[in-house]
Symmetry: C2
Subunit: 223 residues, 2 copies
DNA sequence: GATTCGTCCGGCACCCAGTGCCGCACGCCT
DNA sequence: AGGCGTGCGGCACTGGGTGCCGGACGAATC
């Protein structure tokens, strides 16, 4: 029932457009009653994003299964990967939906509310993880927004290309940009205590931290 | 006409709620025809955010008047200040609207589309400024999202407090967190070269950067 | 095997946001 | 005084979304 409604809806949406398709058209094509449509989808827009509820549940469970030893930033990056994986499971469907949302303003607005639920979920997780920090909530909100932005950057790029290439690798690269700016530990699990070289930094006491970082980074070369 | 419609709408929204107020109620209270409402506001939600169109224009002009010598990150932070200033001009109105958007899901969704226009404007500006950088668009999207998140963090905090305190100072503090992570130059124009103290750090070459930072921070005491 | 009960579906009536269209009144110019 | 553009009101209509009720189906019970 639910799947047949989705199939009928997308068939009509792609044929004659979203706004030119009424709910009556969908239910007559699917052969069900009009009332049943609104039993499965609270609004006409929801049928365009049928899998996001499940995906949000997956993300919530993934974050709830986090250990205290996990790096919070790396964890939310992993959570963002879940969403990208959902898109990557059905490339043609995702690309078709992307074209719809590009054209229809109402769908874009609804998509924003969907994305906002992900961002709120990530922000809530980071907020609890950084409850002891001062400015923990600010940091949580900013990092959550940055992760979502990086994810959407890679996602849109992949969707615009028509579903070519590896979206998981693209989102990892984009997320690495975010992770590297806030998360101290690298993603790789090779500990650094075993190496031998020594770096000496001499700086004035009030030198801003970013200068210290830049100096050390340059003294470390490109690695 | 436009102002009388806004006044009538908010009076009814605060009395009996947003969803319990129909457009007919608004126009009968304002003493105008129903058709005129939709002449001035394309939808019922728009009447709740009557000043955002003008504010978006102000932001666009502010960014267009940017010089190439300006720091892009500082410029978008200044653009975010424009929005906060608009909220701060009418504290009681802003707080009332905040309570409405907290309760009504449809208004929250519409607000997301409004915020998204700001974020897109900031992102477009940064994208042109960073056109030569590799990953310039990714950086632009992430920084724009971070600026919006920091702004909203300060805004929500101020609105939840009922409009107490200085929202401009709060948003500056939040934006400084974003600016300091991406823009090298400090906002204050006092360079750091004039101070005297020296800090010495000795570390292994492959010590992760976060350990270096922690070490320097601890050696600097609490300051 | 008949009854009963919970559940799911269809149909109906209704509300309300939003739109296209037309008529009218007002101010303006000639 | 007589056209004329503009802005407003009214009307009819479309379509999304909801409340309600009746009926069909299957499962448990007697």
């Amino acid at each position: 029932m639910r799947d047949s409604l989705i199939a009928a809806a997308f068939q009509l949406f792609l044929e004659r457009g979203y706004e030119q398709t009424t709910v009556d058209d969908i239910v007559t094509l699917a052969g069900v009653g009009r009332r049943s449509f609104f039993r499965y989808f609270p609004s006409k827009e929801v049928v365009v994003f049928p899998d996001h509820d499940q995906c949000l549940d997956d993300m919530t469970r993934f974050l709830a299964a986090s250990a205290d030893s996990d790096d919070p930033v790396a964890r939310v990056c992993g959570a963002a990967r879940i969403v990208m994986r959902m898109y990557a499971e059905n490339p043609t469907f995702s690309v078709q939906r992307y074209r719809l949302t590009r054209e229809v303003a109402g769908l874009r607005t609804y998509e924003l509310s969907v994305v906002w639920r992900y961002e709120k979920t990530l922000g809530d997780y980071l907020r609890t993880r950084w409850a002891d920090r001062r400015d923990g909530t600010l940091r949580a909100n900013v990092v959550a927004a940055a992760v979502v932005a990086a994810h959407n950057h890679a996602l849109r790029h992949w969707l615009r290309s028509g579903g070519e290439g590896d979206p998981l690798a693209a989102v990892d690269e984009a997320l690495e940009f975010v992770r590297s700016t806030w998360s101290p530990a690298p993603a790789s699990d090779a500990p650094a205590e075993e190496t031998e070289d020594v770096v000496v930094v001499i700086t004035k006491r009030s030198t801003p931290m970013w200068r210290v970082v830049r100096e050390v980074e340059s003294s470390l070369g490109e690695g």
